[in-house]
């Protein structure tokens, strides 16, 4: 028997390393006719904010070579509605559920998390989306500053005992530095990467292809960038690293594990094939057998 389980902490063992990435699988219920999410290692919800958010004006997405651009603008139902209408369903799932949290001030992050804690339901933990503009610091992203990252992590750490991972932005000079700040702040894990800053323009009309101009690049195009980030982060911290970015096959899971990841998240590729996560996790044992590995863990960090 090939072991594909992943131990993230003493309390948290994933049945397999394949999670869905935040914002790419809704609240986990939209696709329930298509996919049995309980066969996934876990799901990360869309990022939840204190108030419901409309999101950005259209167009919000565009396609690029082996990638896509998006500026959804954190469209979401808001924490109250989430706790009432979405969390009970999520808490009933037999897979590890991570609630993604976003905010524009530290207080907002803490308030969102505390509100969810008060709902007092069973789920695995949180992912903290720190690629959000900090309104108090003139729109600078939390995720690009080590001190802000450390402080935010500390404050959230005080508010929950659940598993908490910090999701890193790739748009920094030294991602290892930010990862260490998260670790110092008390994070249980880090996930990497969020989207890469990108842009497209229609040459003929001159319109931005995504209404905000600057937006985020995801998909297979950025897989090498994500793999490099995971490798650097895994060298920098001793907490688990969750790899995200362009994953489209079981082979990619092994790539990220060899770069140092414990588990992975699938984002953009869910749009192409909502069943991809389940398919990939089902294919992993066969691939590990071909490689000659008895468990996924054996391969972690194994690169030459």
């Amino acid at each position: 028997m090939i072991d594909v389980t992943v131990k993230l902490s003493d309390q948290l063992i994933l049945k397999n390393p394949v999670l869905t990435a935040s914002g790419t699988f809704g609240y986990g219920d939209e696709g329930r006719d298509l996919v049995d999410v309980n066969q996934l290692g876990g799901i990360v919800t869309k990022s939840i904010t204190l108030h419901p958010r409309e999101g950005h004006p259209p167009p919000r997405i565009a396609e690029t070579a082996a990638g896509m651009l998006n500026a959804i603008g954190l469209a979401n139902v808001g924490v109250e509605h989430f706790c009432r209408e979405k969390l009970p369903y999520l808490a009933g799932l037999e897979t590890a559920v991570f609630v993604s949290i976003a905010g524009s001030t530290m207080d907002e992050y803490v308030e969102v998390l505390s509100t969810i804690e008060q709902a007092n339901l069973g789920f695995a933990g949180y992912e903290i989306n720190i690629s959000c503009p900090n309104v108090k610091k003139g729109g600078m992203e939390f995720g690009v500053d080590a001190n802000m990252t450390r402080e935010l992590t500390q404050r959230l750490r005080e508010a929950t005992d659940r598993f908490m991972m910090i999701k890193l932005s790739p748009n920094v000079t030294d991602i290892g530095l930010i990862a260490r700040a998260a670790e110092q702040g008390g994070a249980d894990a880090v996930s990497a990467i969020n989207t890469v800053v990108g842009m497209d323009i229609d040459p003929v009309t001159g319109n931005f292809k995504v209404s905000t101009g600057l937006c985020g690049l995801s998909g297979p195009a950025i897989r090498p960038v994500a793999l490099a980030a995971v490798y650097r982060v895994a060298q920098a911290v001793s907490i688990p690293v969750i790899g995200v970015g362009g994953i489209s096959a079981a082979e990619d899971v092994v790539r990220f594990v060899r770069a140092g990841a414990h588990a992975v998240q699938i984002g953009t590729l869910n749009y192409r094939d909502p069943g991809i996560g389940v398919k990939i996790s089902a294919r992993l044992p066969e691939l590990l057998r071909k490689i000659g590995a008895g468990s996924l863990g054996e391969l972690r960090g194994l690169v030459n």
Binding site: E54, G55, I61, A66, M68, G219, Y271, P274
Partner: protein
């Protein structure tokens, strides 16, 4: 909503740059309603990365018909499909036309916007419901139906090369003039400029009108929030679009009542 491996039964040009694709897709065919769409995985390679949404243009037993226009990479690949080709579909998606049997349906289609209109047309023929079909194009060669006003089929061309000389809106207005007294209901799909013209006209004239719109899509079933459209949204925010300003074309649409949309963008 299913993920289904469909099999191409026929794929042929029906007008200049416009193709009709028939696929055997029993599960989707059994449940698709006029106005709904499917999301097509055109390629196993990663370019194009995203599926391509296409309206269902008709259902015939296990078969699904699509009508598509060659645009870019995705539709160029579709053009190459021969019968027997396996094609992965996701559908049926969205919600379709709301048909009120008490009213005279006037269907208006332009370009490939004809697809969802055609499905409704076939449905109405199937239940023997009298209706009008107005189809607009720039010129004759883009048309693949015959001008037949006696049977309620009115073609319009911008250049006058076939049927009624004028836009689809001109055609609609002529049909409205001829049917002044019947309570009617308008269904329209076509290029943005046509929808804007028809939507603006019908809202101003307070005529009941539904529009099937298009927007760039990531997923087709509500998980990406990518296909937003500016709309006059009411207070209820439990809708898949989460907001009070935007709706999602894939979930809240692709069919909208014209008076719910923000039609003028300037």
């Amino acid at each position: 909503m299913y993920i289904e491996d469909a099999i191409v039964s026929e794929n042929k040009a029906i007008a200049e740059g416009i193709y009709r694709l028939d696929l055997s897709a029993p599960r989707i065919a059994a449940t698709a309603q006029p106005g709904q769409f499917v999301n097509i995985l055109v390629h196993d390679d990663l370019i194009p990365l995203l599926r391509r949404p296409m309206s269902v243009a008709g259902v015939n037993g296990d078969n699904l018909a699509l009508i598509y226009k060659i645009f870019g990479a995705g539709t160029t690949i579709m053009e190459s499909w021969a019968s027997g080709q396996r094609v992965n579909l996701l559908g049926p998606l969205g919600h379709g036309w709301e048909y009120d049997s008490e009213r005279l349906p006037i269907l208006v289609g332009g370009g490939v916007g004809l697809a969802p209109i055609n499905f409704l047309h076939e449905y109405l023929l199937g239940i023997s419901k009298e209706h009008w079909l107005v189809i607009g194009a720039r010129s004759k060669k883009e048309h693949f139906l015959a001008h037949d006003p006696a049977n309620g089929i009115l073609l319009t061309t911008d250049d006058g090369s076939a049927g009624f000389h004028g836009t689809a809106l001109d055609g609609l207005q002529s049909v409205l003039r001829e049917n002044k007294n019947a309570p009617h209901q308008i269904f329209a799909c076509g290029p943005p400029a046509m929808l804007e013209a028809i939507g603006t006209y019908t809202v101003k004239a307070a005529l009941p009108c539904q529009l099937a719109v298009e927007e760039m899509m990531g997923c087709g079933f509500g998980i990406c929030q990518g296909c937003s459209i500016e709309a006059k949204v009411d207070a209820d925010n439990d809708q898949p679009s989460y907001g009070k300003r935007f709706k999602l074309v894939c979930m809240d649409g692709p069919v909208f009542h014209a008076d719910q949309l923000v039609l003028n963008h300037d």
